[in-house]
Every structure is written in structure tokens, then in C-alpha cells.
Subunit: 125 residues, 2 copies
DNA sequence: GCATGTACCATATGGAGTAGTGGTACATAT
DNA sequence: ATATGTACCACTACTCCATATGGTACATGC
């Protein structure tokens, strides 16, 4: 099933995501399979339901699972394919390249951080 | 001269940078002019010398001023030109474009932040 | 001796963001 | 009635970073 390491520095919702993705890769979870409900899984692992909901929400965005309202959550038809095209993977690559570019301009890491926070926070001024 | 607003949310060293750049643009400071020494300016404004030193250091990196060791700091020969090609300006533009790209992928702002922090800290794990 | 820029050391403060918990509420359909 | 996902609210604990402060020290040249 799913095991959680409360002492790990890895966030709980991330542990959930990784384990579910792994289960899909190893085909212990196949498209159409129903996942435990949010409240049920939270109860089993003795963690907050919002933490599980967050994991499910991200998994759904990545099209690894599908949430069908009152019917529950299921493994996405294209789950096996979608577990591979990883958004955070792409983010890491692009960011590494972009940050190298910023540094090449001559910017300090501190400056880059400040400019980043300035740009990503709602700068609707 | 130079006026500092201690109650402003704008960092002190940034206020210094902006005012000196402005003075260069308005030609109340011209290339070759000697700037007040770090300790002297800090004393006048009643702020820490490290704060002034930080402003001077960034101004020198942008080639707006020149520090000549024991002789003091002077307005850079190309200051008038260099005040315009602004590094933070370029940073802001590039970051705005890049962050828009990340969002277009489907990444959450929270994810972008996490990936950014991960990428900029030399996380040789 | 004295002032220059510079480079370390350290510390305190405040803000922002993450992670997680908890409660409540809603429309849905069985 | 019951369970589903979901969307709010609020709160705590924690970490990281920026900012600013203070002290000490150094080589330099006047």
C-alpha cells in the first residue's frame, strides 16, 4: 500500500505523489483503478485530509489521476504516459538554464532572488 | 545632496543607488567627480557604513562609479551611459517573460518558487 | 597618525512562504 | 443518511532570506 515517513524532511503530500506515481509505473495501479477516498486515506495514514487532497489535486493536474466528484478518484487513462512528462522535471531544467543566463548578465544571486520574488508576486501595480 | 527616508519600505542601500544614479542622469554628478567616502556619507546620514558600502559596491559593478582604493570613489567615465543599461531592469523583463512561460506549462506559483529556490541554491544532492 | 576601500566575523529583526492541522460548508449522487 | 471531491476560513511552526547593525582587521598612500 502506501507508507508515510513522518520523520522525513520530504513533505507528506510529496511522498504521496511519488508513491502513487511509482505504483502507476510499476503497474500495481492501472488506468481505471479506484483510489482510496481522500478522507479514507487520510484516516488510514493518520494525517490531515487537506494534505491528501493537495496530493490528489496535483496528481490530477498532471493527469495521473481523475477525480469524478462524488464517485471518487481514479487512475487516469493516460497515467502511464503522463507520469513521465513531469512538470517539476521540466521546471527544474528550464530554471537551471534561465538562472545561468541571469548570472551571465552579472546579477548577484541575491538580486536574482529579489527580482524573482518581485516578478512572481502579484505585481499588479 | 542625498536624502534618506528611514520610514520607507524601500531599502536604504537602494535609495542611495537610485539617488546617485539620478544625480548622474541630471548631471549634478559628472564623470570624475569624487563621491563622499563611505564612512563620511554613513556618518552624515547616520546609517551604518556597511549599508553605504553595499550601495557603492553595486554601483561599481554597474560601472556607474569607480573605487580607487585609498583615493576614494569617483563617478565612472561612462556613468551617463551605464546608468541606462540597468541590470535589474533586464532581470525584471526576462523574469517576467520566463515566469509567464512556467505558468503556461501549468505549474503552480508555489511549485515555481520551490523549483526556483532549489535551482538557485547549489543543491548538489 | 589618519583616511581610503575592502573583507571578514557575528547578530537581530522582520517578512514571506511552506507545510500541516483543524473546522465548516456545499452540491453531488447513491 | 452517507460519502464523494472541493472550497473556503483560520492558525501554528518552521525555515529561509534581506536588511541593517556592529566590531575588527588589512594594505594602501597621504
Amino acid at each position: 500500500m502506501i507508507a508515510i515517513d513522518l520523520s522525513s524532511s520530504e513533505p507528506l503530500f510529496n511522498q504521496l505523489i511519488q508513491q502513487i506515481k511509482k505504483a502507476v509505473e510499476q503497474k500495481s495501479l492501472i488506468p481505471g483503478d479506484q483510489l482510496p477516498s481522500i478522507r479514507q486515506l487520510a484516516s488510514e495514514l493518520d494525517i490531515n485530509s487537506k494534505t491528501v487532497a493537495k496530493a490528489y489535486s496535483l496528481l490530477e493536474r498532471d493527469k495521473v489521476i481523475e477525480s469524478k466528484g462524488y464517485r471518487g478518484s481514479f487512475v487516469h487513462p493516460d497515467a502511464l504516459h503522463n507520469v513521465q512528462l513531469n512538470i517539476s522535471e521540466r521546471l527544474n531544467n528550464e530554471l537551471a538554464r534561465d538562472i545561468a543566463r541571469y548570472r551571465a548578465i552579472g546579477a548577484t544571486d541575491s538580486e536574482i532572488r529579489i527580482a524573482f520574488n518581485h516578478a512572481i508576486s502579484n505585481d499588479k501595480r
